[in-house]
């Protein structure tokens, strides 16, 4: 059952990403936490756009909303948009070099952060800390290793 097997691998990666997103870290490291969910969505939509699409991104975003206690739909909206843009251009992005995709990841996360900030500030007045944007750099730093690791996983378990 190759289909079931693929989804098993994909869903376990989602689960691990969700845990990584809320895993307790010391306060000073918290700001450097990479955006695992964005990376996971980005990778799977890029690799298997026929398997993982906007619906998955939406559900992941909804789960993250529940986990973080934010207003329902904020992350869901942004992740679906993200998945949409990646699924439009996946054929082009696949031919990018590693440096280019890394920059693209950074850009995407920057947009995500801005959109999250904008949505949250439309509801209540909030204080923006400088280190809110630091996770963009850690995510970009992590992305190449993450990409190779996920590709290894994908080939190892023959996810297609």
């Amino acid at each position: 059952m190759p289909l079931l097997n693929s989804y098993r691998v994909i869903y376990s990666s989602f689960f691990i990403a969700l845990i990584g997103a809320i895993y307790p870290l010391p306060l000073f490291l918290n700001a450097f936490r990479p955006d695992w969910i964005v990376l996971v969505i980005f990778y799977w939509v890029l690799a298997l756009p026929h398997r993982v699409s906007i619906t998955h991104a939406f559900v992941l975003g909804l789960l993250l909303d529940l986990l973080l206690g934010s207003t329902l739909g904020t992350h869901a909206l942004i992740f679906s948009l993200l998945a949409y843009f990646v699924s439009i251009g996946y054929q082009r992005i696949r031919y990018f070099t590693m440096v280019q995709t890394t920059l693209l990841v950074g850009l995407f996360i920057l947009f995500t952060k801005f959109a999250l900030y904008w949505l949250a500030s439309s509801l209540q007045d909030i204080v923006l800390h400088k280190h809110y944007f630091w996770s963009i750099f850690t995510s970009m730093l992590v992305w190449p290793w993450f990409f190779f690791f996920m590709r290894y996983i994908r080939q190892r378990f023959k996810v297609s």
């Binding site: 845990i19 307790p24 306060l27 906007i54 986990l67 206690g69 679906s80």
Partner: protein, 275 residues
Amino acid sequence: MIAFSVVLFLADSQFNLFASSRIYLNSLVSPIQYVADAPQKFFRTISENLLTRQALKDRNMQLEKDNLFLKADRLLLTQLQNENKQLRELLHSQRNFSAKRMITEVMSLRSDPFTHQLLIDKGAVDGVYLGQPVINEQGVVGQVSQVGSTTSRVLLIVDASHGIPVRVQRNDIVAIVHGSGAWNKLNLPFVQSNADLKEGDLLVTSGLGGRFPAGYPVAKISRFDYQEGALYAEVTATPVALLDRSRYLLLLWNDHQYTESESALDLESEDASAE
């Protein structure tokens, strides 16, 4: 799909449609929360178990001493409580202290970066309800903002959307403390510039909102400043509870036994806070 999430976003933020279903939705994700919390809990247990005999003995001694002092204080407290009750009976104004409380542990997981929340390991199964007051041994921490079946979220008093009615312990001036969004700063808007407040005054809950029981310490005034001719002073305070490093919290059960006579007595102050 995008339209759907916009609808969802609006429905939750503007109309609060998911208030009742949140409990099920939160229970849905609580396994993930428990899994993510497990490693830290495990290490904590190990570090608790790995103590030298001497350290344990010292600690035990210290606790015994503390216990003795607290018990001695309590002797007096019972006396005072009775006296207070008698006096209140003479004034025909009963006040009931909520007796039920429960210790809860903080699950130190990441929360939404724009709000100040804590996740605790008690939920609807344990009788936690929405808006329940939460304190620790130092003072008021916040109130329950979301309930799941086994976990809940506590909105801290420093969150920008949180307000709590207080009075100054020294002279019973009432005010409302708003969170500022920073970890150690609270604002007191609408305090008249000629009000008798000074730095270091302790603010305690006034019980006026009916949500927090009266008398628990909330914050200390850190700055009192006013412009010449301005109507209101600029007042900021710091919370007395160490919000970012508390591990055990106490849930209080408020019985809503707020009798008529008491609210009549406080009518004057309520007028003041209504502005």
